[in-house]
């Protein structure tokens, strides 16, 4: 089951091919499809989606362990906040790359 999920995710990366060709050039020859913008959209959506999955897993296990051991709530909450911020930063790296491409190039 997990293997099929990984294959589906990797199949989406097929879309990444055209972006590399188009990014240096001016937007689109031919029927004016803006591959660059599509690429940015897919990249950001993918990053946010996986970030959400990871944060959901972290929150779920934190809440469950708080329910099992309410006395350790403060420690668990601290670890949860730290973990969430670190995972969030990974999604933000994608955003930084996108903004760099848009505004600096």
């Amino acid at each position: 089951m997990k293997f099929k999920w990984m294959i589906c995710m990797l199949a989406l990366l097929v879309f990444a091919g055209p972006i590399m060709a188009q990014e240096g050039a001016a937007p689109a020859a031919g029927p004016a499809v803006n591959w660059v913008a599509i690429g940015f959209g897919i990249a950001m959506a993918l990053a946010s989606g996986m970030c959400a999955l990871a944060q959901g897993k972290a929150t779920a296990s934190a809440v469950e362990s708080m329910a099992r051991n309410p006395g350790a709530s403060a420690v668990i909450r601290g670890a949860l906040i730290l973990g969430l911020a670190l995972i969030e930063s990974l999604a933000l790296y994608t955003l930084v790359v996108i903004f760099y491409q848009l505004l600096v190039k």
Binding site: I81, L82, A85, L92, Y93, V96
Partner: protein
Amino acid sequence: MPEHELWLTALFNNYLSGPANAALSLVGMHAENPAKPWANFVTMEILVVAILMIVAASLRPKLSVDQPGRLQHTFEVLYGFLRGQSEEVIGHHGPHFLRLFATLFFFILSCNLIGIIPTFESPTMFVPVTLGCALVTFGYYHYMGLKEQGAGNYLKHFTGGVPLLLMPLMVPIEIISHLARPLSLTIRLFANMFAGEQVTVVFLMLTYLIAPVIFMGLHVFVAFLQAYIFALLTMVYVQSAVSHDH
């Protein structure tokens, strides 16, 4: 990135552009636009430092054990929190390093929050500022590790305790992970502050009052959280550099 000049930066550029250009040429650099050598984030940083110093200076004579005022209470809560965190992360001699952690925390928090006031801008929205804070952290934890454990012993940490044959594999990985630390600190803080502002601006363009306010509220929470995360990660790095296997 469009650099709209703030009123404070305009003030600096009008009156202090001469000394700024002289200082830059002393170091051998030139401003892009010699009429405007002050950047927004430089003047904002100076403002934040001035505000922090004024608050601390005004608090100092009013410190009292029996009748603490509100400001003293606030600072005591924050200081106690940071001290507790450093003891938890580093151990009993954590508070020895508390000066840096508290400075970073208060500076980054104030820089993050000042961007919410309408005509000001967070200096931490710009990479040079966050890079500076991250390099301070990087230099500090390496310096403390070298001081605490001696040069040879500290460099042996880079091998991570694997057998001798695996060391040529382990050392580059450790070096890369050590170099990734200031990079990730920089980008995390910069991206959070920049994205928070961009989201607020975009929603301000789309709707008028309610949605941007919600995102600004989220931005305030993220400002506190990112300042705390930066200080906490600094503590973790100092702990990994300084901790002995007693």
